[in-house]
Symmetry: C2
């Protein structure tokens, strides 16, 4: 005989919702739900409203497709940034990652994915046409292809490169090599091979 009883369906629903988040199992989801249950009502209200507003009120920048609170994002409207440089990325998480390095002062273009025939994602599903349009009408000197180092990323790189073959523009790729902190013995052979081919003079 199974005695197991659910005390509260409302609690259970909240746990199920938390368990739908990536990497979260039922135990952690329960911990989250009980944590919020202990919080004050205004605290939970703030939690819930922050998520709701994020979903309902954020927009995608009409120029670069990055997430934004306005029609045009703060990066595109910032006049101190170099507007002749576009970094092409897969998603907004890549914009956040590159911004957090504080090493890049140009603009972005968020494709919203990479070409992946297996997943039914062709160039038409991505923001590639708007990118070509920007390159054609704006005074762009260089585009940096900062897509994932996967087959899909490489395919997308090739596709974009072919589309702008007739435009006089520098096309660059992110440097690939041994990551800081990595042991050589655990670096894959292709990365290690490329890092030997692309070696740099010491102390520059």
């Amino acid at each position: 005989m199974n005695y197991s009883e659910k005390s509260s369906n409302l609690l259970d629903n909240a746990i199920s919702q938390f368990a739908s988040l990536p990497g979260i199992g039922k135990k952690t989801a329960t911990r989250f739900a009980l944590h919020l249950l202990k919080k004050s009502e205004p605290d939970v209200e703030n939690f819930v409203n922050a998520i709701k507003k994020m979903k309902q009120e954020t927009k995608f920048c009409k120029i670069c497709n990055n997430i934004s609170d306005h029609d045009i994002c703060t990066i595109c409207t910032n006049n101190s940034r170099d507007k002749s440089l576009i970094c092409v990325v897969e998603g907004i998480h890549d914009v956040m990652a590159i911004e957090s390095t504080s090493q890049y002062n140009g603009l972005y273009h968020v494709l919203g994915g990479v070409i992946s025939p297996m997943d039914g994602i062709g160039p038409g599903e991505l923001s590639i046409a708007p990118l070509i349009h920007r390159i054609n009408i704006e005074n762009i000197k260089e585009i940096i292809l900062a897509l994932p180092a996967t087959m899909e990323g490489d395919t997308t790189n090739f596709y974009i490169n072919r589309k702008i073959a007739n435009v006089n523009i520098n096309v660059t790729l992110l440097a690939r090599g041994v990551a800081i902190g990595d042991e050589l013995q655990f670096t894959d052979e292709i990365t290690l091979g490329q890092s030997i081919l692309n070696r740099k003079p010491f102390n520059t």
Copy 2:
């Protein structure tokens, strides 16, 4: 010069809220926020409403202090359960843990904490008086003290035991011993010592 720019305050707020959950850092919080951003509006609505309703509409059972969708919880109202048995626990997570074993068919009493002078929690802050009241007016044969195996848990056990010294009732404690799957060498000496003292005949 620092180029780092935030694209969306709304996204940032949602990330901060997720990062306030126990054990969640900024990277995981970002992953949660971007995950929900990709979901449909009704999906996010369901997520948010489940949390809101849990906070606003759950109650605490007027008998046992367990979480409930009604004034009296489903465990207290279930007539197939043994009403002469009360298992005393610290919190509702303990009720969920014991229910998930399907080994217990009695009632519960949720104290809402354990006595901890260091944290300013005395017997008055806990649901101990209602427990004593239940024991005095209901026909209870046994209470199982299932509090954490800590100093605070032990203190609370002693306090409750003293309070009901004049009542004719069995008071039991959860068995302590080597956990299933544990290696003896990694079991602490007090647990191991108790498991030798409380050894059981083989095959019973």
